[in-house]
Every structure is written in C-alpha cells, then in structure tokens.
C-alpha cells in the first residue's frame, strides 16, 4: 500500500454542545494513496458529518484531520481544497454555471487559471465523463446520470488527488449508477485517485477496496468488503436486500442478485400479476 493521504485521529464532533450525545466520538482511521474507501452506516451514524468535517465545512470538537500530512485548519484549508473534490447528493443544488462547460470551469476560475489552460482542462474533463457534446447545454435540462457526470467533470478538471462522494449516487437509476461506478474504477486505476464514498448503498460499498462501518458515531468494523459483509451482522443490509432474503425464505421466486429499492418496488407491484 502507498503512503497515507488522509489520517484522522480521535475525531469527535457534536452539533449541539449542550447535548451529551456525540455525532462522532473519537474516530481514527487512515486512507492510503489510490485507495477507495467506503464509509457505510445507518442514518444518523455520522457519516455525512464526517464528509463535512473532511471538507473543512465543519470544525471538529477535538481530534485532528491530516491531509497530505498537513493538519486541516483555517489556514491550510484553501491549499488542501485545490487537491480535493467533493460531490454532494443533489446535483441540482450544485450547479453554478448556466452551461455545462461554465460549470466545469468554475473551480478553475477560482484558481485564477489562464483561459488557454481552462479550455484544455474543461475539454479533457468533459471528454473523460463522456459529456463533451453537451458542453453548451443548460445543466438543468440533463438527466440525473448526466448531471452527475457533469459534477464529476467539474471536480476532475481541478485534477484532485482525493474525491469524496457524499451519497452522490443515491438518486440515480441503477443503469447510470453502474456506468458511473465503472468510470470511477477506471479513473482510480489511471490517476491514482484516492476516493472516499459515503453511502448506505451496499452495491456501491462492495466496489470499494475497504469498508469502514460507522454506527452511533463509532467505527464498528473495517476491512475488505467480503469480510465486512460476512462478519458484521449489525450491518443491516439495505432494506430491499433484507426483504429479498425474507421473501426467498418464504419460497417466493426472486432474482438472485442484489436489488436496489426501486428494482424491488418494480418487482413487488408486479409480483402478484398472473404471468
């Protein structure tokens, strides 16, 4: 394994100082260069808070976050952000530009980059995600998967070493989700990208090199996906997955593979139709 890129030590956080309950209590982990780490856990486990802390959008109550060996502070944050990108859940809330290419250029403009260089980077990034033909389109006219591709292009353009995905793929249909995952796998291999994906989608998590399971603000388990899935009974498989297992137990004929919630719903409402 390569050197560690992110090192989190004894990180604790509370939104409300008056309350006892910590959102994150004394979490420590490291992420190595070129590694894809999935942080999973039920709602309220603190995983989104962790993403915001890593992005410097929230201040930790105690503990340190070191990125590229530098402690994350108000002084270092801007330097670190030049090498880090974050994708949040709803793409509609993240577009700043009125055309696809304007939006991709936003991060570059902030770096006060020359026009020639921006032009090159924007084209490169859009080609990579397969959205170059749409460069003059208004982002709001794109489909969910295309929007996601554009937000990812905006981040690839700044050429970051770390990308954090905060529930970035939850709102997508299974097909575009799979397409994006293979794109990311490719990107990770080609560019030595370090990726952290925060998710409750086990399909997404199973693609990672390593999974960190959070529960009630603590790390419950960590390891390769197969190990984690086998060991951690607490790691409730997604609702649809549990339902699928139960239905199979009762002798219903269901597809063998993992189903997303939408697929499950699709299957359920057709399940009693005479075939």
């Amino acid at each position: 394994m390569g050197k560690s890129v992110i090192k989190v030590e004894n990180l604790s956080f509370r939104y409300d100082q008056r309350k006892e309950k910590e959102i994150l209590s004394s979490i420590s982990f490291t992420v190595n260069e070129g590694e894809w780490v999935a942080i999973v856990g039920p709602n309220g486990s603190g995983k989104s808070t962790l993403a915001h802390l890593l992005a410097g959008l929230l201040q930790p109550e105690s503990g340190t976050i070191r990125i590229f060996g530098k402690a994350l502070t108000a002084e270092t944050i801007w330097e670190i952000r030049k090498n880090m990108g974050i994708v949040f859940q709803n793409p509609d809330h993240q577009f700043i530009g009125t055309t696809v290419q304007d939006d991709v250029a936003f991060g570059l403009e902030n770096m006060n980059m020359s026009y020639a260089e921006m032009e090159k980077r924007v084209e490169q990034a859009l080609q990579q995600v397969g959205m170059w033909e749409y460069r003059h389109t208004d982002p709001s006219h794109l489909s969910g998967g295309q929007k996601r591709r554009v937000t990812i292009a905006g981040i690839l353009a700044i050429n970051p070493e770390i990308i954090i995905f905060d529930e970035a793929f939850t709102m997508l249909d299974p097909k575009s989700r799979r397409e994006l995952f293979s794109l990311l796998k490719e990107m990770q291999a080609k560019r030595k990208l370090t990726m952290i994906s925060i998710t409750h989608d086990m399909e997404e998590a199973s693609l990672a090199d390593r999974i960190i399971v959070l529960k009630n603000g603590r790390i419950l388990n960590t390891g390769a996906p197969q190990e984690v899935f086998a060991q951690t009974t607490e790691l409730a498989a997604p609702f649809a997955e549990r339902l699928r297992r139960l239905l199979i137990k009762r002798g219903r004929k269901l597809p063998e593979q993992y189903m997303t919630e939408t697929e499950m719903v699709e299957w359920l409402w057709k399940s009693n139709l005479p075939m």
Partner: protein
C-alpha cells in the same frame, strides 16, 4: 407565472441576439436618455419608428412584447391621466376644482404615455435577446470602474449570476408543489381573496424550506470548489466585441445627435 418577462430570454439568431451585451446595454441606456429628453412630436415619431424597428429585428413575435407590457399598461395610463388632469397650460378646456384639462396637459400626458411604453418595450427587447448570463457579464464589465471606489462588483456579479441561474428552478419547483397540493384537493385561484391567499400558504412554506436547504448546499459546494470572494478569479466566459457592435453604437450616437439637432431647431 409565464407573464414574468424579466430575465426571460427567447433564443434566436437575429442580429440583436448576436450583439455584444455591452453594445446592447450602452445603446439601450442611451436610447432611454433620448426617450426622456424628447420633447416634440417628431422626436417621438422617430423613436417609435426605431423601437418598432428593433422589435422587428429581434425576430421575437409581437404577441410576446404585448404580454410584457400588459401588466404595466394600467399603471402607465394612470400616470398619464394624472398628468392630463392636473397640468395647466395656455388654453384650459375644462376647469373644475383642482382638475384642469389643458392643451399642454394633454400633450404632456401623451408624451408620458409614449415615454413609459417606449422604455418598457426597449428594455424588453434587451432582456428577450440577451441571455441572462451575457447580461450579467456585460453589466459587470460596465461596472468595473466602480471597483476603484471599493464597490464589490465581482461579488455583485456572482450574486446576479446565481439569482438568474435559479429562477427556472424555483418556477419548476413551485409548479411541482402546486401540482402536489392540487392532487390533495387544494384549489388555487378560487374563492375570496383571503381564501386564495390561504391556499398559497402550503405552497410557500415548502418553497422557503427548499430554498434555504438549496442555498446551504450551494454555498458548501462553492466553498469546497474553492470560491473565495476576496480572491482574484479568472473568467471562462469571454465577451467578443465585433465590428457589428461598433456599428450599433455609432448608429445610436448618430441618432442621438440628429434628435438633438431637431430639438434645438424646433
């Protein structure tokens, strides 16, 4: 909702669409000055001609212009009527208490009607043929000198860009929420004015909540993507000043000079 014309761009390829926003803005401002200073029938005749000319050039159907001016028409008529009723002149036709209708009053009334109508039409031409983002870029460029007196021009421009960018989203969202409420049996535009207002409460509340959430997420995104208001930024969008723009400005100035001449000789 579709009556709102401000910031509503109608895509096209006309000569006006292709003009640099700076040329368009400066010309429009100069024409507005002209309209305000015009004092005789001939000037107004020429200005009407020019306005109809540019409306025609824009290639936008005149029904859209009419829709744009309709909500303002009553206000304009009201203002013009006030002028007519309360201005005294050489010959007073009717005198009844405070109300006097005079030759001068009638003329001022008509001129005021002309002025407001012409200004509305001309500014509509600009907004209909300029993408909001180009408008913002032009506006930012023209305000640049104010940076020297510490006016945060770039921040203003960023705010405008984002505001324009989210107008369609807000409209879509409003429509969606209204549909959702309609399904649940809420009726809009029915009953007394109070009932109508009450029916809008469940629409506005979710819009406010969504807008706040969206603003927060957008701010986070901008932060993470390295936006700092106090730092110098480069710009990916560029404005291209062409011959056609110089020509447009020259024509505008020539018309100004001509009308000035007319005013001084008449």
């Amino acid at each position: 909702m579709n009556k709102l014309l401000l910031g509503r761009y109608v895509p096209g390829t006309s000569f006006l669409h292709r003009l640099d926003p700076r040329a368009k803005l400066v010309s429009a401002i100069l024409f507005i000055v002209l309209i305000f200073t015009a004092e005789n029938w001939l000037s107004f005749f020429i200005l009407w001609g020019i306005t109809f000319g540019v409306m025609h050039l824009s290639g936008v159907p005149s029904s859209i212009y009419f829709r744009g001016i309709k909500p303002l028409l009553w206000l304009i008529i009201f203002t013009a009527t006030l002028q007519m009723l309360f201005t005294t002149g050489h010959r007073n036709f009717i005198e009844w208490g405070l109300i006097t209708i005079s030759d001068y009053g009638i003329q001022t009334g008509i001129f005021i009607f002309f002025r407001f109508t012409l200004i509305t039409l001309l500014s509509t031409v600009v907004t209909l043929t300029t993408r909001p983002i180009d408008f913002t870029d032009g506006f930012t460029f023209l305000l640049k000198p104010l940076q020297y007196v510490k006016v945060p021009v770039n921040e203003l421009s960023m705010m405008l860009t984002i505001a324009f960018r989210f107008i369609p989203n807000l409209l879509d969202e409003t429509q969606k929420i209204m549909d959702a409420q309609r399904i649940r049996g809420n009726e809009f535009g029915v009953g007394s004015i109070f009932q109508q207002m009450k029916a809008l409460v469940p629409v506005f509340l979710p819009i406010f909540v969504n807008t706040l959430n969206r603003a927060e997420e957008l701010a986070n995104t901008m932060d993470v993507r390295g936006y700092r208001a106090d730092q110098k930024r480069s710009s990916f969008r560029k404005l291209h000043w062409q011959k056609i723009d110089t020509l447009c400005l020259t024509v505008t100035i020539a018309i100004m000079a001509l009308l000035q001449l007319l005013n001084s000789t008449m």
